[in-house]
């Protein structure tokens, strides 16, 4: 049960953040990980595994906390690198996110190199899995994710308008820099929370918003809640499949999401080729 709820929460969080980021960046390649959340979490988690800080400290699992803290620290760094005065140009944000991620990936590689027997644990975490999710993890991230997505939802109309470009959005009464900042903060927060309990599950945050948009259209006020439901259900199903598809072992759920979601997105893109414009 905690596992099902956990996967639903993670699916919802990644989808919501994906919708928000694709809206802010106006870039179809944007996903919740573009600002380095994943790379930061990977460093945090790998560090926790390699150092083996008991895995529990004062009765709390340290790995998710370290992953969470490291991912937020990364986003904070990326944000501040890109900041010009009070403005944050999205192109700079995107590029510095990529740069920092590459740098952190190298650190993860170093950690993997010196990990010895713990290498398998790191690799497994990086692929993402819900096998270790417990009730206390769920209770820890539930408020973060629900409050975060709710706040993103409040700005759904602004996301619509932001897709017209920042200058136009400004002229239509959107306080662009403030909205961008809020969405980036809460998008990163829910992503970091999700990643801290599940590891890096790829593709959901990129794909679910696209799939949902093709089906129900670009209005974020409908797109966001629908994506959350679709993302949550999709990840629950993927996790169930991951548990049963190979007998006696468990496949990392990230493999299932990519294996099933990829072809489905391609199918939709082909089918709606003319009308879908990102």
């Amino acid at each position: 049960m905690p596992r099902i709820l956990g996967s639903a929460l993670v699916g919802a969080a990644l989808s919501a953040a994906g919708v928000a980021y694709q809206g802010i960046f106006k870039n179809p390649m944007a996903d919740p990980y573009v600002l380095g959340v994943s790379a930061g979490a990977a460093v945090g988690a790998s560090l926790a595994i390699v150092l083996g800080i008991g895995l529990t400290l004062f009765g709390v699992n340290t790995l998710p906390i370290l992953a969470f803290a490291a991912s937020l620290a990364t986003v904070f760094t990326v944000y501040n690198i890109s900041r010009v005065g009070s403005r944050v140009p999205v192109t700079t944000l995107l590029l510095s996110g990529i740069a920092v991620s590459i740098f952190l990936s190298a650190i993860v590689a170093v950690l993997q190199f010196i990990a010895g027997k713990k290498l398998q644990t790191i690799v497994f975490w990086l692929m993402g899995s819900f096998s270790d999710v417990q009730w206390k993890d769920v209770w820890a991230v539930l408020p973060l994710i629900s409050i975060g997505t709710l706040i993103i939802y409040f700005y759904a109309r602004d996301l619509n308008i932001l897709s017209l470009g920042e200058e136009t959005a400004q002229n239509l009464g959107v306080d662009v820099e403030k909205v961008k900042k809020l969405l980036l903060i809460f998008g990163s927060l829910v992503t970091a929370a999700a990643v801290s309990i599940s590891g890096l599950i790829g593709f959901i945050g990129l794909m679910i918003p696209h799939i949902t948009r093709i089906i129900i259209g670009p209005d974020h006020r409908i797109l966001l809640p629908t994506s959350i439901i679709v993302g949550a259900s999709f990840l629950v199903i993927c996790d169930a499949v991951a548990r049963v598809i190979v007998s006696a072992a468990e496949l990392p759920v990230g493999i299932i999401t990519a294996l099933s979601g990829g072809p489905f997105l391609i199918y939709l893109l082909r089918k709606k080729k003319e009308s879908y414009a990102m």
Partner: protein, 444 residues
Amino acid sequence: MTVLTVDGIDCYYGSVKVLENMRFSVKGRDFVGVLGPNGSGKTTLLRSISRTLKPHRGAILLNDVDVYTLKSVEAAKQMAVVPQESATAFNFTALDIVLMGRNPHLSRFQMESQKDIAIARSAMELTNTRHLAERPVNELSGGEKQRVIIARALAQQPKVLLLDEPTVHLDINNQLEIMDLLKELCTKKRLIVLAVFHDFNLAARYCDSAILLNDGKIISVGDLNAVLTSENIRKAFQVDTVVKKHPITNSLYIIPISMPKPSSPRKLSVHLICGAGTGTTLMKILTEEGYNVTAGVLNVLDTDYETAQVLKIPVTSEAPFSPITKETHNANLEMMRKASAVVITAVPFGHANLRNLEAAKETLEKGIPTYVIEEAPFEQRDFTKGKAEKHLTDLKSKGAIIVKNPNELLPLLNISQDKLNVTKEFSTRISGHLKPETNSYEGD
């Protein structure tokens, strides 16, 4: 009434100053055209007013409130912008886009009400886009999209409408429709409309006032007739123009004249006896060929007189519609004596300009070669009951060279063949000045 004041602003892109000490004020019902060459700061001015580029110095006041102190939402209720390019990342329908114009009027947790939808629809009605409401905006043509964006701006119910080249993607029909609409909004809803235009004539026909920019500075601002003078336009664009009142629309119209650089200057000078447009083509060709051209006597306001003004050709002139006085005649003779040749075009002769033929006779006697272009039969353009014709006969007997048309004349003056083609289409126009009863041409 709304008053928008731009109070001495300086704007910079980085360290480059793009607007300097710009100062003007407009009020409701003003339809203001912002004109100027590329890079003169038109778009920058609009961006600065729309709170995108904060001036380093000075302020932009809307009803005495600095717009940069307003919240985005407050500003968007009063000012709407139609940008030059409108990109949309997602495929919203036209109605979705127009409804976004209602954003400043909605609180965070509010959905659009029936009232908002009604406002959006009536804005689409005004811009003639209602039938496009359910169409994805990315599938619309440039003109349709532009009209949807204007509808979005109207849905904001602003007091100030800023448009950056609103008609640039539109065909002539759509251009006029949009301009009519803007004019109507201006007068009926007392909006301030401030729009960047590249087309002088479109601006001249609709705007009440204009701001002419060059290099980030105002060349001229105020009433359209005062701003759009050929002198101001030359200052801004370095282009010579003829500015006139159009007889039908009663608005100014502006015709640019390309100023070719003179080819190798010649020492020879030619004096033209012309009028009523018969000398215009010759003036242009001879000037281009490097001749020193003079003309006279011409009445002020005559077509040839105006051409001479534009081409900076020295002219002896007489007051409009007046006969040549003795003084002017003498001044003309003075001018003619310096010429190496005199050309008499196929101008009609009346009592008013008869003295020009007498002058030609006098200079011919002094040995200055004289050419007479007999493009149209002389009897058709003699309004002096034979007096002019007698002068002509005298000229002929004294050795004036008769040519049938400018094409025959130009080789005699050593002018290259390709220039001659220009004159061919021109010769038909002369028929307009002939006596109606004997006019066998189909004049245009």
